[in-house]
Amino acid sequence: MSAPAEETQKYRDHEGPYFGSFGGRWMPESLVAALDEVEQTFREAKQDPEFLAEVHRLGRDYTGRPSLLTEVKRFAAEAGPARIFLKREDLNHTGSHKINNVLGQALLAKRMGKTRLIAETGAGQHGVATATAAALMGMDCVVYMGSEDTRRQALNVARMRLLGAEVVPVDHGAKTLKDAINEALRDWVASVEHTHYLLGTVAGPHPFPEMVRWFHQVIGDETREQILAMEGRLPDAVAACVGGGSNAMGLFHGFLDDPEVALYGFEAGGDGVETGRHASAITLGRSGVLHGARSFLMQDEDGQTVDSHSISAGLDYPSVGPEHAYLAETGRATYEPVTDAECMASFEMLCRTEGIIPAIESAHALAGAARLSRKWGAEGEGKIIIINLSGRGDKDVETAAEWFRMLPGQENDPVAETETAAKTGDESPSPAPETGVQA
């Protein structure tokens, strides 16, 4: 890793277990030895030139790194005065940033002599990436996925099965990401001898937040180099969607100690934070412990986890990585909610203006950045915002078609309606029922 030698360096390379008052290991004792082993293996691997070379080689030859940095002029023009660039993690093999962390951890798992990978997944992107790595490295793979998510991300379930993974639908609780994590942890407690739990975001017990960030730092490092090469200066702001927060941490990391670069994280606002139906843990601001870390947590007065809601399965999580909680508390980064409706308007706008179909997760960042550009007004002229386009939207086409009421029998059904009405998307989309998908 490149190591800037500035003395002002404050946030970069912050090691766990604690980020201010957040992080730690709020975990059953049964898993502590495994966490120690992961940490030890990770620390050694980071110093091993062969490991670093292998991570780099896989990134280049398998993932397709470096990913592009693309200026989106037509999207920016509709959004506001600022110039907008997209960091194209959507172009990675498997279709999202998730692969960066997965390949790294899978290599670590091999180093530890483990033969089986387990993972949780929400949108299915992390599950697909893990199934991919398992196929590539000849390991067994089981992916836990809430049954609500296996339904709304059915395409990714099929992808994982094609890749040879077993997908286990989880029927407890809210049947989404948090419940998939519970089930993966239960598996791990019993299988830890030969199994690595390949956690998919910068959450969970130490060393996961620090380690997952490290494998995603390449996003921020590349972005920094690319924008300096293209524009000769740093951006005014970088923006990313925040579920657990891995794509955001990866991008932020390249700019953490450049105070002139504003950092924006956009949480899933669901139907609006005021409705209680959202996934904006930081905005809500209640500290608690879940899944091994102290962080901000959506919880009721008794400390029971409150179910989150979002049109985006990948952001539908009631907590957030502890380093984000820390960056929020220190004020280094700003976090704001983006509602389902705002997100989908930007989703449609990027499709129409740039010919890029984003993941619904990433569309939260598009909407947040567009709002920022508008808010800047005339002052935003010539300013640069870089958005992490964390994934592509193939998996979301059905959800989007339903949202825009383009499915057979809906009022914008392209077969039933005139072609133009379906295609222009000029009118604002009709508000969707519930989470925007069929119950």
């Binding site: 008052s21 495994a34 948090k178 942890l185 239960r186 407690v189 299988s191 608690g288 879940l290 986890t305």
Partner: protein, 278 residues
């Protein structure tokens, strides 16, 4: 947690600290047997029945009673306990009910009554307030399955102030350094996890259990009780030969589910050997 992560001064496990749980286990030892510790979830299937069932535990030979607090994300629990606690939450269970149940069971029995709770429920109320209310209800202390001593600064301080037991878990994979830390942080007894896994009845007692007990004893533990997977009288006898107490959960919860408090009474009597005069 810079403040919470600082472990409090290690305390001894000796009964002279006023540990109700230690006293109950020592009383069993004086009778030449291992203590029997039974787990039931608070409020399952409803508040009154859960109190009645816990009282049956004590009447039929349980020395220590664990009242499990229903939690939304019970990562250490298998399907039977998950199902029960999920039902309790679904009917609108609120945390203060636990203290009422503890008080009712303490009032009606001589058993030491512990709660078993995931830590966020303590954290949300505040360790100090939770400890105060538990002590006020007459509770002996708490077992915290997802809290390790490294993170337990606030809980150690609060339990110390209120004279409560705090039971940490030690696992087959715990290093000698960690076992030592767990033993010195625990008060009342040390919970030896017999198998790598979640709660649930199993056919056999894992041979790891005895090693876990021995490791804790070598680190100075005076009382080590073994749980996870224990479901028959034969298990209880086997574990009783090397441990100071035997913990049964899932089998009792299934009995309560299928046959109510009288089934809990019958199973407890069978497990403790009470029906044969022990």
């Amino acid at each position: 947690m810079s403040t919470e992560a600082t472990p409090a001064e290690p305390s001894t496990q000796a009964p002279k600290t006023g540990s109700k749980t230690a006293e109950a286990i020592e009383a069993a030892r004086a009778q030449g047997r291992a203590a029997f510790i039974g787990y039931l979830p608070a409020g399952y299937p409803d508040k009154e029945t859960s109190i009645a069932a816990a009282i049956e535990l004590a009447r039929n030979g349980a020395d220590v009673i664990e009242i499990g607090v229903p939690y939304s994300d019970p990562v250490m629990d298998g399907p039977v306990i998950q199902q029960a606690t999920t039902e309790v939450l679904a009917r609108g269970f609120r945390l203060p009910e636990v203290f009422e149940i503890v008080a009712a069971v303490v009032e009606a029995t001589d058993a030491a009554v512990l709660v078993m709770t995931y830590y966020n429920l303590i954290d949300r109320m505040g360790a100090e307030e939770f400890a105060r209310r538990l002590a006020e209800a007459g509770g002996a202390g708490a077992i915290t399955p997802d809290l390790i001593p490294d993170e337990a600064g606030a809980w150690m301080a609060a339990t110390e102030r209120h004279g409560l037991d705090r039971v940490f878990l030690t696992a087959p994979t715990s290093s000698p350094e960690r076992v030592a830390q767990i033993v010195s942080a625990s008060r009342g007894f040390v919970y030896g996890v017999s198998v790598m896994g979640v709660t649930g009845a199993r056919d056999q007692v894992s041979d790891a259990a005895e090693r876990v007990v021995n490791a804790a004893r070598s680190a100075g533990a005076e009382r080590v009780c073994v749980g996870l997977g224990v479901s028959t009288r034969a298990h209880v006898e086997e574990i009783g030969r090397y441990a100071d107490g035997v913990i049964v959960g899932t089998a009792l919860v299934a009995a309560l589910r299928d046959g109510g408090p009288s089934a809990v009474a019958a199973l407890t009597a069978e497990l403790t050997g009470a029906e044969t005069g022990r």
